[in-house]
Amino acid sequence: MTGWLRAHARALGAALGRIFRHPAASLLEAIVLGMALALPLGLYVAIDGVHAFASRHASAPELSVYLALGADQRAIDAVRARLEGLDGVDRVDFISRQDAAKALRKSAGLAEALDALPDNPLPDAFAIHGGGWGASRLERLRSEIALWPQVALVQVDAGWARTLEAAAKLGRAVAALLGVMFGLAALAIVFNTVRLQLLDRRDEIELSRLIGATPGFICRPFVYLGALQGLLGGAVALLLVLAASAWLNAALVDFSIAYGAHLSFRAVPWGVAGAILAGAGLLGATAARLAAGRQLWA
């Protein structure tokens, strides 16, 4: 066990030594790797922000049912009963015309305009929360309810949020695909870097083989070098995404507020950051192992 640990410590020391002996080249490699990894990671962060925004709004009522202005309590009760009897309805909230007017006064600053009117122009309404209806089902429901007596208007509320959420889902898939593509690019970068290191060290490798080094002994420092390069690249990618999202966040918040929404980039969660670093390290180690194996077989 001690010998095994010693061999790994020696290999890690050799890999660190190579990085510190060539700091400029190592930094450049880390930046190239970091940029390759930052692109899918940045896209992931952007889409995560959109997804969070869409999720917040997707939980809003799916349908709003506005009653005719003269609807009495019997009509209200009848509509409520029919709405509650619909398949897939989770909750039906009644919003009286008085409550609606109060809310409008508070939220939109329309108090003066409302006061100027002779009567409350708002109807009684129902907010219907459903269990994940699709767009076509929502449309069918809207048409069906619109035909009920005392129903003036039916509006699909959360449709846009659902669409945005679906787009975010698609965006995530695209980010994953880009992640694979840029991951392969990162693999190629590390593979080539290690291949050059192997060529640079071919005399040492040849000598080591002649005097009894195992393939593991020869490959190990290069695998550690690849893993360290991957880790550094992952760290650079995280820093780039962090810096870019901090830089863009203020502008994005201002922009979204102008449209009555609050959209912002969220910080990369610790778990994701850890996974990025571990993944990048593993990617680097794999590329290095492939390069070293190829060299040894050659």
Binding site: G3, L207, L210, I211, G212, A213, F217
Partner: protein
């Protein structure tokens, strides 16, 4: 300890390096393989170190048939050997100490033991005071001695030397020969491929003469 049985070695292009060579080298022997350039001396050493495989016949080391040796076992066979190369194969971006320490790193020895053994090996070849120097700063004779220190530092059972005095003057060649003699006296089997008369006369070894790949004086 080392056995050749009807060994042929042909290289691609039809070059015949060895023809029907049979010999036996016992533990603790001091043997010189002599012959002109191209006679097949280096090929014999390469076959013993399993760097090359025979085209026909059988080579065994320590009763191990090298034909059947698995790739995984090869490094461990080579750790029983000490190799002195004609071109030294020194690592010029490492210190003298690090060059000698390489076989011990491969064997997985600790820092303290490595330091002790490297110092002892360098002391034996007269380079103890140069351990922090770069090999590039050494003379040809010193580089050869450094190569010998690296070959003996892990205490091999067999020492194989390919033209170890190739570029040295007679005085330095004599000193190198004396080193091999001292290792042999300590129990190491020494096999030297050379055409250097100084080495042969100094050591008075068992001599195997090769001519165009054929062994002129076969082992008993």
């Amino acid at each position: 300890m080392i056995r050749f049985e009807h060994v042929d070695k042909r290289y691609p292009g039809g070059i015949i390096a060895l023809q029907d060579v049979s010999l036996r080298i016992e533990r603790g022997e001091l043997v010189v393989i002599a012959g002109a350039s191209g006679a097949g001396k280096s090929t014999m050493l390469k076959l013993i170190a399993a760097v090359e495989q025979p085209s026909a016949g059988r080579v065994s080391v320590n009763d191990e048939d090298l034909r059947g040796l698995r790739a995984r076992a090869l490094p461990y066979l080579r750790r029983q050997l000490g190799l002195v190369f004609q071109d030294h194969k020194l690592l010029f971006d490492r210190s003298v100490f690090d060059n000698v320490a390489l076989p011990l790193a491969i064997a997985g020895l600790g820092r303290k033991e490595t330091s002790r053994r490297v110092d002892a090996a360098l002391d034996k070849v007269g380079l103890l005071g140069r351990s922090h120097a770069s090999p590039i700063a050494l003379s040809g004779g010193e580089q050869q001695r450094l190569c010998i220190a690296r070959a003996i530092v892990h205490r091999p059972a067999i020492l194989l030397a390919d033209e170890p005095t190739g570029n040295l003057d007679p005085d330095h060649a004599g000193a190198i020969a004396t080193l091999f003699e001292s290792f042999n006296r300590a129990g190491v089997t020494v096999v030297i491929a050379t055409h250097d008369r100084v080495v042969i006369e100094r050591l008075r070894p068992r001599r195997l003469d090769l001519q165009a790949g054929r062994l002129l004086e076969a082992a008993p």
